[in-house]
Symmetry: C2
Subunit: 378 residues, 2 copies
């Protein structure tokens, strides 16, 4: 089964990078695209209107959080994520697996799925590939993710044990993807499978090939951004992308910093999500066209200039670094809000620039520019 | 000395209630008016544009907080509160006295002023009537308040001791007002003196008469909302108002709930401030045209209706009770923001209705309506 009303139309390419139009039941997404993270159905402190104004086209929400509160039945009855939240554009939901294993109490994983204790009510619950699909069908997202098993990269471990554990998790992820495929019922919802295998080229290739055979609507790279080097990550993505069908979206999960995004774009990735822009914003770490700005720095105490003179966000248009620094230091909610919105605007603009660069064959120059900024502190 | 570019032009009255145009160097305020509280130069989580859209005309900021961070010199150098914050309309600042005695460590008060230990850097500082004026002149507010001594109402104390302490604080407040008057230099800044005297009619009258003789730009009622009954409060305000010149603004400090505002309006008050709308909003207690709504209540879990069908704020126009309840329960910043903005909109609309009611001689009907709602829970 493939989803109805969902597809990818390529516009241009530059090397293996490509820009495309991804059609979903709730609107078109120009890719490569960044998806702001709306964990509980809202991006921390920021309204749907502000996100749209900043250039967001699609949001990501966390299935585990919504399952715990308010529960998928409540959201389904209130019109799914689109009716419930006020963001009527496309939604992607994760499977909940990563959150369950990292947030829930006493999560235990076996072939069937994950059994865990809810921190909310202390009850034991289970998350299986089938349940993950059912919850996401109730949430009504445009893109659902399969449940996968992700092994954190253990730098210190014996290499052979690690490879065995990675292989076992990768093979299980394939079996879980197959189970997910068989239970999906919602025709208007795309489902993406997830490539695993750590940074082993052989495992990544085998995972991508096995995943491709299952005929999903799109594919994701999982288990990255967990301590591997930049080269390892780029290699892992490249190997898998070569084995994945080019006519379907590719999503690099949970990454990352601006350079990670450009690395991904250059490798042919279409979708990104990360909490870095909002989390860093709340802490006063701001992305600008001249590098990273640590707003708590005393140097900005009386700085009347905007965060970034080339930015059109409300923070840069209306407020000085001095005022925003004051708000962030005082823990004022308006500071976190304005700084997060600034960083999201930076990310969304960066992807818009990447799309134009691919169309004009100038992606390498943009990539080099961001590489030059990566370690630059204002 | 009286401030230049500051004045009150009466438009209409209904009993002793009046509606007027208060001119300040940064714009006209139609009174009676509610001033949202922007403690650190920002209303929690809400932008200046949203405040203006909701009908705010003037904001209040807390001198003690700004003195501690970022310091009045920084704000002065950055164009005062108007240049620093992005709210370019009128500002009122308090004297810092109430905050120092309630928030600072080891505050000690004598005839000279207050000596306290800053919780920020552990240093001893002092706040005198002269320093309070100097700080506010640096902040550049349109209306500054004199330092006063406020005695909390002690329900349990021996009545005679209390009266003595109240009288002593009231007399000291008069002496401090006189000192404040002598040091003010900023011609474009109005200064308001503060009536004290607890709920003793004799002390309130003496305080108001003594204050009136000092020829300030406006007058405030202090030391209320601290445990006295509604009748005691109304009587205290009425007695003082009768002794204050009618051609200058009257400000009821720190109060309160919607009925407190209507009681004040009916007694001839022109200005109000209170943290109730924003604080209650953050906790999910919402004011509506049908009474108070406790949004955390399970009854609203799947309620698709707006908080208040007759409200035009962004929360009511775009979101359901179910979604806002979900955000508030999850501690999502967007929930606090939208709920606070709703409550502020309610307060600002209530005062707009009061102004129209005074013009049309129908204030008693509005007062009765709000009295009927005061204990009503949806």
């Amino acid at each position: 089964m493939r989803a109805e009303g969902f597809g990818l139309e390529l516009i241009a390419s530059d090397g293996v990078a490509r820009t495309a139009r991804m059609t979903t039941p709730h609107g078109v997404v120009e890719t490569p695209a960044f998806m702001p993270v709306a964990t509980f159905g809202a991006v921390r402190g920021i309204s749907a209107a502000e996100l749209a104004e900043a250039g967001a086209q699609i949001l990501l929400s966390n299935t585990y959080h919504l399952h715990e509160r308010p529960g998928e039945q409540t959201i389904e009855q209130l019109g799914g994520l689109h009716g419930f939240t006020g963001w009527t554009g496309p939604w992607l939901t994760d499977s909940g697996g990563y959150q369950v294993t990292s947030l829930a109490d006493r999560a235990r994983l076996d072939e069937d799925g994950v059994v865990f204790t809810s921190p909310l009510d202390g009850r034991r619950r289970s998350l299986t590939p089938e349940i993950a699909i059912q919850i996401q069908e109730a949430l009504g997202s445009d893109i659902a993710m399969v449940l996968d098993q992700c092994i954190p990269i253990e730098k210190e471990s014996d290499g052979r044990t690690e490879e065995k554990a990675l292989e076992s998790a990768m093979e299980r992820t394939l079996r879980w993807a197959d189970r997910s495929r068989r239970v999906r019922r919602r025709e208007s919802q795309a489902v993406f499978a997830i490539v695993q295998g750590g940074v082993s080229e052989a495992l990544r290739r085998r995972s991508a090939e096995g995943t491709a055979e299952l005929d999903f609507d799109g594919h994701a790279h999982g288990g990255l951004g967990l301590g591997e080097s930049r080269d390892e990550r780029r290699q892992a993505v490249a190997v898998a992308n070569a084995a994945l069908p080019a006519d379907r979206p590719r999503y690099l999960m949970g990454l990352g910093r601006p350079l990670d995004l450009l690395d991904g774009v250059a490798a042919g990735i279409d979708l990104f999500d990360c909490v870095v822009p909002t989390r860093n914003g709340r802490h006063g770490l701001l992305f600008t066209s001249e590098g990273t700005l640590a707003l708590r720095n005393a140097a900005f105490e009386r700085d009347e200039g905007p965060i970034d003179p080339s930015c059109a966000c409300p923070a840069c248009q209306r407020h000085s670094r001095a005022y925003l620094r004051h708000l962030i230091r005082g823990g004022e909610a308006l500071g976190a809000r304005l700084a997060s919105l600034h960083n999201l605007t930076y990310y969304l603009n960066l992807l818009a620039r990447a799309r134009r660069a691919i169309e004009t064959g100038t992606l390498a120059a943009l990539h080099a520019e961001i590489e030059g900024l990566a370690t630059h502190r204002i």
